[in-house]
Symmetry: C2
Amino acid sequence: MKYLCKIQYVGTDFCGFQVQPNRRTVQGTLNTAVNAAFGRPCKVTGCSRTDSGVHAKEFCVTVDLGGELPIPPEKLPLAVLPHLPPDLSLYDARAVDDAFHPRYSVVRKEYEYLIYNERVPSPFWQNRAWQLPRAIDDVAFDRMVEAASQIPGRRDFASFMAEGSDIKDTVRTVDLCTVTRKDALLTVTVGADGFLYHMVRNIVGTLIDVALGKFDPEDISRIIAARDRTQAGRTAPSDGLYLKSVFY
Amino acid sequence: MKYLCKIQYVGTDFCGFQVQPNRRTVQGTLNTAVNAAFGRPCKVTGCSRTDSGVHAKEFCVTVDLGGELPIPPEKLPLAVLPHLPPDLSLYDARAVDDAFHPRYSVVRKEYEYLIYNERVPSPFWQNRAWQLPRAIDDVAFDRMVEAASQIPGRRDFASFMAEGSDIKDTVRTVDLCTVTRKDALLTVTVGADGFLYHMVRNIVGTLIDVALGKFDPEDISRIIAARDRTQAGRTAPSDGLYLKSVFY
């Protein structure tokens, strides 16, 4: 048996999830904390990789201490708490079989991307949203909404994959792509059975390019059909991206 | 003529608003920024004092550069922007007469206090809310709401003033005191024509003491009537407090 845990983190001061030598990572920090709590080595495996600066409101990991669970799962969050830094929390745990893999067992994930749209940046959204000073008016916002509505479907999303990725199968099923606005904050939500490298950030960058007039909403179909990264828009910065939920 | 400006700041890394030697303060930081933008000394005056760690979503200051306004008010935010740190922004400015005083002219202010109520703290609310692990269930929440409803009125609020304050007239008119909840986040909103030192934090601490059973909601009238700080509850920490709006 091992633990399947839900964690949250502010990504700003982490070099992403995956452990790297001489870098502060979520995986490395969590490993050290669990190790300190139980006095024995453990194996932490994540549901996904996230880049430097990307945040997670719900990220899943398995924690394997080798064999028996030392304490009941519901006690794990408070046992690990004293050993975690304030930008990382473990808030839920349950027991799963050794065969369970937190990455291969994922059936769907949802990301949220926040854009703070005011001419002066907000201190409260520093590192936590894309602070975009150029005004997105109602017409531009409607263009974004229309463009977003053309993204869902089972398609080849190679145009939204970062150049240099060596993934062969670039077909994914996006079941949700919406844009909402509340005051100065725009939220893009994307759900899919899987994501290519930088896929959400490239979708968001392209939607902003639609809002600002570089593309028309109708161009989305053409961009996807091209299967060519150079046809799509810019890559939105990492600060605004949040892994929101993971489904098994 | 001088400028009346609206600013925002995350209070965590400031030792409050008011300038102090060898301390990073909002007033000092703003003074330096305006000075750098115009190459001449200025006088920055605030609408209020805030303590270390307290935040502001809307705080008003006057900026006096001595006589003529060097640029139109609407251009001030972008002129100062390059000289401000990311935890402080100036997002609005208009011209006012020299006679206008940003503190004495205030007729009403509104504060917001945020409480994150989960057994494990959230990295996203670190320094930005009171992270309270003890569960406030529906019954406890209803007690808070009832207690809050007894606070508004023109009364002597000495019981909610920090000990050691030397203010003589402790009568204020509170016109709003509400508690709302959305998921794990509780928001206490208090509006008044003026506030005593630590008044909002002492009201919030007392409401939490009501929620957790130390007081009953009916005790509020007695606590206020006592005009005695020792009769009220604890002082809520500074992290959760936000100046929300200032009315002239």
